[in-house]
Structure formats: C-alpha cells, structure tokens
C-alpha cells in the first residue's frame, strides 16, 4: 500500500503525485472504476439474458419449424400468440403447472414451518435432523427423479411394499393419470422443504428471547405463543420464502424429465416441459418462443403481485413494532 501526503484542499491530485499515465486516485476516478468493475458482469448478462430473450421475442412472431428441411422463418405477427390462447394442450399444461405450484408451495410452507420449529427446538435429534434435511435438497433433481422412480415402482418399489404391509392394495403412482401429479409434487416437496425449514429456523432464532419470556410470564401456552407471537414475527421471512419458492416452482423441469417425461398422457406435463418438447423435440421454434414469452409474462406478473405484498407486509411489521 503506498502512502502519500494528503494534497491540500483545492490542489489537483495530479500535482501531488507527478506520475506517468492515468492517476486512478484522482477525484471522479472512483466512478469510472466502478463502471469498469461492473462491465464484465453486465456484458455477460446482456449476452446471456437480454440477447436471448430479445431473440425469443423476435422468433415468436415467426413460423419457424426446424423439423422441415431448409425451413425459412415466415413472419406472421401475433398469430402464434393468438393460436396459443385456444391451444388446449398449452392451456392444460398451464393448468397443471398452476396446480403443481400452488399445492407444492403450500405444503412446503406448512411443513417448512413445522420443521423450522423442530430444528430450533430442544431435542437430542436436532443435529441429525439438520443433516438429513441437507441431503435431499442438495441432490440433483434429475437424480432425485431416478431415485423416486425406483421407490414408486409398482412391482418392486419399497413404497408399495410398505403399503401392502399396511394392508392396502398396491398403488400405480407414476403410471396412473390421477396419482402421477401428486407423486411428482411429493418429490418436489421432499427436495424443497429443507430450504423453507432452514429459513424459517433462522427467522425463529432471530426473535428476541425476552419476548418469549414475557409471554411465558403472562401464562401463554406453547400453541398460543406460536400463533400470536412467533408466526406474526415470522411474516416477512415467510413472505420471502413464499416468493422464492413460487418463482422456483414455476421453473421445475428436471424432476419431470426423469420421473414421468410429462406422462402418463399429459398428466404431469408442466409448462417448461411442454415448451421444451415443442421447441426442442418437435423443433417448432417460433411457436415455442411465443409460449415461452407468454409464460415469462405470467411468471413476472405473479412475482410482481407477491413482491408488492411483501413490501406491504414489511411496512406493516415495521410500523407495528
């Protein structure tokens, strides 16, 4: 680190340090350097985000089917979008996704809060529970898909073995149009409950212990303390997880790819999988691009509503505290 005498006020920094080239400590250089430091990241994000999204937007106005040899894009304006609105397969995948996201995130939040309480509780099992929660969540979703396929197997899967042991008939799980979506949701929950639990636990340990002591002095039981004190204080944290989990649940693709490939029929065909199939298996790129843009807009709209609600919740707790 070089030390140099401080230049008297008003003297240009240059004068204090006569050196060749640019003086990076001169006033205003901090701003230039800030831009320089930001440049690589911005460049990468422009090329990997703005450019592809722009490309998708353009393609979405064309009929462009790569499965036809020597196909050239034909400009059709908004036709792809109009077709989408009456495309029953697309709308069905949307409905499936909404069910998937709503059910999975709801269960994850409820179980996550319970587990969050458990890992902040007083039990000799807490340490082991923490480690076991870490395991499922760091597993690659494709690998989880393979694994659960063996668990769900109709003829030799351990799950059906236990079900039979308990006196119930064997279940088809992934082979049944009724049960498959639930089975996929179960895997998603198994993998994604841990992050919710960890975050909720962090929120719980952030509550000052005086509050609990005061509640105990007032004679509140465990349930009342949880409902009237812990839960309201956790609201902002729960909102953050809710938003993150919802955004991520819309992205789910991997589990479906190895667990069901969207089937049986199209019972587990989430929008991401549907778009992938259309664009990269059937190579109908123009139409698939229109789908992805519509999908993006919907996900953005939903996220925006949630983020607004979070802001309000935050303002609420700060005002109340």
């Amino acid at each position: 680190m070089t030390t140099r005498p401080l230049a008297p006020p008003g003297t240009p920094a240059q004068a204090a340090r006569p050196r060749r080239g640019i003086d990076w400590t001169a006033p205003g250089r901090d701003r230039d350097l800030s831009w320089l430091m930001l440049a690589p990241a911005i460049l990468v994000l422009v090329f990997t985000n703005l450019l592809p999204v722009w490309e998708a937007l353009q393609t979405s106005f064309y009929i462009y089917d790569l499965s036809i040899p020597n196909a050239t894009p034909v400009f059709v304006g908004l036709e792809n979008y109009l077709r989408l609105l009456s495309d029953s397969a697309f709308l069905e995948s949307f409905r499936t996704t909404l069910i998937f996201v709503t059910v999975a995130v709801t269960i994850e939040l409820i179980l996550g809060i319970v587990l969050g309480l458990m890992i902040t509780g007083q039990s000799p099992w807490v340490g082991l529970l923490r480690v076991s929660l870490l395991l499922s969540f760091i597993m690659a979703p494709v690998a989880a898909g393979v694994l659960w396929r063996t668990l769900y197997n109709v003829s030799w899967g351990p799950l059906n073995y236990f079900i039979e042991l308990a006196g119930f008939p064997r279940q088809e799980f992934l082979a049944s149009t009724v049960q498959a979506l639930g089975a996929v949701i179960a895997v998603e929950v198994w993998q994604q409950v841990p992050p919710v639990a960890f975050v909720v636990a962090a929120g719980i340990s952030g509550v000052p212990s005086e509050i609990y002591r005061a509640a105990a002095a007032d004679g509140a039981n465990a349930w009342k303390t949880f409902w009237w004190i812990t839960l309201p204080l956790l609201r902002p944290v729960i909102f953050v997880v809710l938003i993150l989990r919802t955004m991520d649940a819309f992205k789910v693709f991997d589990i479906v790819a190895t667990l069901t490939q969207g089937g049986p029929a199209s019972a587990t065909k989430l929008v991401s999988y549907h778009i992938w199939e259309r664009g990269l298996r059937f190579l109908d790129i123009g139409y698939a691009s229109a789908m992805s843009w519509l999908f993006l807009l919907v996900v953005f709209a939903i996220s925006l509503v949630f983020i607004r609600a979070l802001d309000r919740a935050r303002a609420g707790t700060e005002g109340g505290a």
């Binding site: 070089t2 901090d30 760091i138 690659a140 351990p158």
Partner: protein, 276 residues
Amino acid sequence: MRDVLGRIALSGVYLVVIVVMVFPVYWLVITSLKPANLAQTNPPVFFTPELSLDNYRMLWGDAAIRNNFANSLVVALGATGFSLLFGALAAYALSKSYLRYAIRRGILLWVLLIRIFPPIVVGIPYFTLLHRFALTDTRLGLMLTHVALTLPFVIWLLLGFFQDVPAELEKAAMLDGCSLLRRFGQISLPLVLPGLAVTAIFAFIISWNEYLFAAILTSFNAKTLPVAIATFIGERRLEWGTMSALGSLMLIPPAIFAFLGQQYIVRGLTFGAVKE
C-alpha cells in the same frame, strides 16, 4: 410421567421425519451397492451383507461416463470461477455509492428479475445462439450459460457481504491514496473471504446439478453427469443399479461442500435477504 411420555412422543416425531428424509437417499446408495440379482425383488432387499462395487466399477470402466464426469467438474469449476470473479467486482461496485443510486438500483433490479426467469425461456434461444457462434456441445458454451445462472445469485449474495465491511477501513485506505481497485483487492476482498467461499459452494452446486441447459446444449463431447443419468432412463431402462451408483456419485461433491458451508446456508437460500 406425562412429561416422560411427551418427550418420547416428541422423539418419535423427530425420528419419523429423519427416516422420511433419509430413507430415499439410503435406498439410492444401497441399490447401487446390491449385486444385480437383488436390485429388483419383491419383497425389496433393504440390506444385504454381500455388498458389491460392481456398479461403480462398471461406471468407471465406461470412457463416456469418465468424460461426462470431467465435463461436469470442469464446467462447474469454471462457471464458479467466472461468476465469482465477475460477481465480486460488480457486487463491490454496487455496494459503494460512487454510482448514482438510481443506476445501482436499476442494475440490482434487473439482476433480480433474471433470477425470476424460467430457464426454458432462455434455453431455446441459447440453442440457436450457441449454434451461431459454433459453441454447441462445448464446455465453454455450457459454462457460459451456467455463469448466466449463477452470476445474479453471486452478485446479490456478495453485495450483502461487502455491505457488512466496516466503512472506516475503506475511508482510511482512501486517505492513504488507494484507488478503488486496490481498496477492493487489498481491503474488502480479504474481509469477505468467508462470504466468497459460501457463494462459491452455492454456485458450484447450482452448476453441478444443472440439467436443462446441459440437455439442450450438449450431446456428446461436453455432456455432463445429469444428462448422462437422464439418458440412462431412456436407453438402459433396467440398469437401476448402475443408475443409482451414478446418482450416489453425483451426490458426493455437493454433500462435501454443503457440509462445509452449513452455517451460511440460509443467506444463500434467500438471495441474501435473510441473514442468520
């Protein structure tokens, strides 16, 4: 008496949860270690003393799988390195107030929006774009798309860590005539090393487990392990033992890293929004 019963019941609840969470992972590992004739039986074999490493030997003997493994490692390490380098520089610049507030806020918001993007939305254009630059089925091409995935995450996470560095240190260095770059490299960066380590762990796991982009952009040369395990499903449907071995192997690096970075996991999970 009631107290004792209550404690036993509570322990029971803990045990049930632990078993539900761990059993599937145990099943994956035990399936990979069973001899082939015990892999698909009814009733299922939950434990056998005659464990064998045959499945692992088979994987190791497969040159294609070894290549997939190398690809996964190179891509994940490369993506982690690049996103950490670019992310640290950007996060530092964003944590200081030399740029106008509106500009910093705008950039951070954009980065946050990128986090919302469903990957499939960029996946399809990646396919045509990488083709145009002759980067399909290359490690570099895949690495680039993984940097796109991890960079927003790295920026937001490191931003929080840089903001935690006491401003006095910076001011002292400034009076000593250190330029912004030197203040970054010699003052702030050493102080956020733990944050850097945690961020690296997260970035590595994201890239290591990533499937969608890898499936779209690689076919043979740059194929990674997640794609390999997914192709197994399509092509070698009955080799559950080998597939489980591959799944177990894939779990090892993230398990080691996650264990090392346990304390900071919450911060990573919430994009820096919740600090433990």
